[in-house]
Structure formats: C-alpha cells, structure tokens
C-alpha cells in the first residue's frame, strides 16, 4: 500500500530564514504528488502539485518543491519564510489526479520573529 512520511512533526524557523519540509513516499510507480497547507480552523489549501515533466514545480505563496525519483522524495522549500507561513503542511499522494489522497502526518511550522 502506498504511504507518505513526513519525518518532522514540528519545525521552527526564524522569519526570513529558508525552509525545507521533507516528504518521502512509498509506491510502486510515480504517483501524483501534492503539498497542502492548513491554517487553524480552516481546510486544506493546495500549494502545488506534481504530475509529470519538470521535476521542480512552483506553487503559490513563493513555495516550490522538487521531485526526486531516486530518493522517492518531494520536499517543499521556500527561500525566505514570513510569519504568515506558520501553519501545518501536508504532503499527499494519489494514484492519479482523480483518486483519493493518502496524506503524510503533517509538519507544523512555527515562525520566530
């Protein structure tokens, strides 16, 4: 069965510092890959997605992610974190774009002033 691992439960970074959130997946083929962000009391907002092609994908709010097939990873990055980025981040995979998502456990990001 496919699975998604986000090794870091909590991460704290200073405002203006760079950020990398890790995501590893286990699946026989290359799945569709997603990053979502969830602010308290709200639903999930799509940051970016990877279906095929260029392995570096750009998303909203200045985020990007790189798909590395050899490492089964899809890490999320941002060059300079803003206080408003504090939230919980979820990596997810699907067999295809229309199928149900399997989520990682999430990483809670805190931003120090």
């Amino acid at each position: 069965a496919q699975s998604v691992t986000q090794p870091d439960i909590h991460i704290t970074v200073s405002e203006g510092a760079s950020l990398e959130l890790r995501c590893n997946y286990s699946y026989g083929a290359t799945p569709y890959l997603f990053w979502y962000v969830q602010s308290p009391g709200q639903g999930l907002q799509l940051l970016l997605k990877y279906f095929s092609g260029d392995t570096l994908v750009q998303g909203i709010k200045g985020f990007e992610a790189e798909f590395k097939r050899s490492q089964s990873s899809f890490n999320l990055r941002k060059p300079s974190v803003h206080w408003s980025d504090a939230a919980e981040y979820f990596c997810a995979v699907a067999l295809n774009a229309g199928n149900m998502l399997t989520f990682g456990g999430g990483t809670r990001l805190m931003v120090k002033p």
């Binding site: 709200q42 639903g43 999930l44 907002q45 279906f51 229309g98 999430g106």
Partner: protein
Amino acid sequence: GAGVSQSPSNKVTEKGKDVELRCDPISGHTALYWYRQSLGQGLEFLIYFQGNSAPDKSGLPSDRFSAERTGGSVSTLTIQRTQQEDSAVYLCASSSQTGGNQPQHFGDGTRLSIL
C-alpha cells in the same frame, strides 16, 4: 459558490445520536471526497463519488457511516449511533474530472464533538 461549502461548521452531540454533515461542492465538479482528520489517525480517506458511478466506500470505518450524493451535487455524510471516537474534523473536497490533472479543493470542515 466560489469554494467547497460545508455545514455545520461545528456540531456537538451526545453519544448514541445520529448526525448528518453536508457538503456543497464547487459548481461543475463531478468528483467529491470525504476525509476525516483526527488527532490519533491524521487525515484519512472515507468515501469518493465520481459522477454517476458507484461510490468508493473503501475508507468508511464501520457500517455506522454512510454517505449519499443527490443529483450529482450536494453530499451528506451520516454517522449513526455516534461514538466518542467519531470526534474529528470531517473534510469534504471536490475536483473537476473534465480536464484531467485536476487537484482536490477542500472545504473548511465540520468539527464534530461527541460528548
């Protein structure tokens, strides 16, 4: 509407009661999903509707859970004889299948608390 709408936003009920949660997907979206988010289990898939096809119920945790989608639009998730372990945030998502490669868009969820 502009996004996926869920109601109620919060629901508190006594153990043993039945509850109904509503999801209004984005207009024109043919696929609709229910997920559950709880402290112990994280985000879990429950059920998936696609057009007029039979729903994929493989994620429903017990036969106390059921869902329907009327007219290919609004969906209702029903939990019968609620238990305390049903306390969670129930999230609905929809996507358009017409163009391919369409991701899921989520509502803000219903926070269900079982006393």
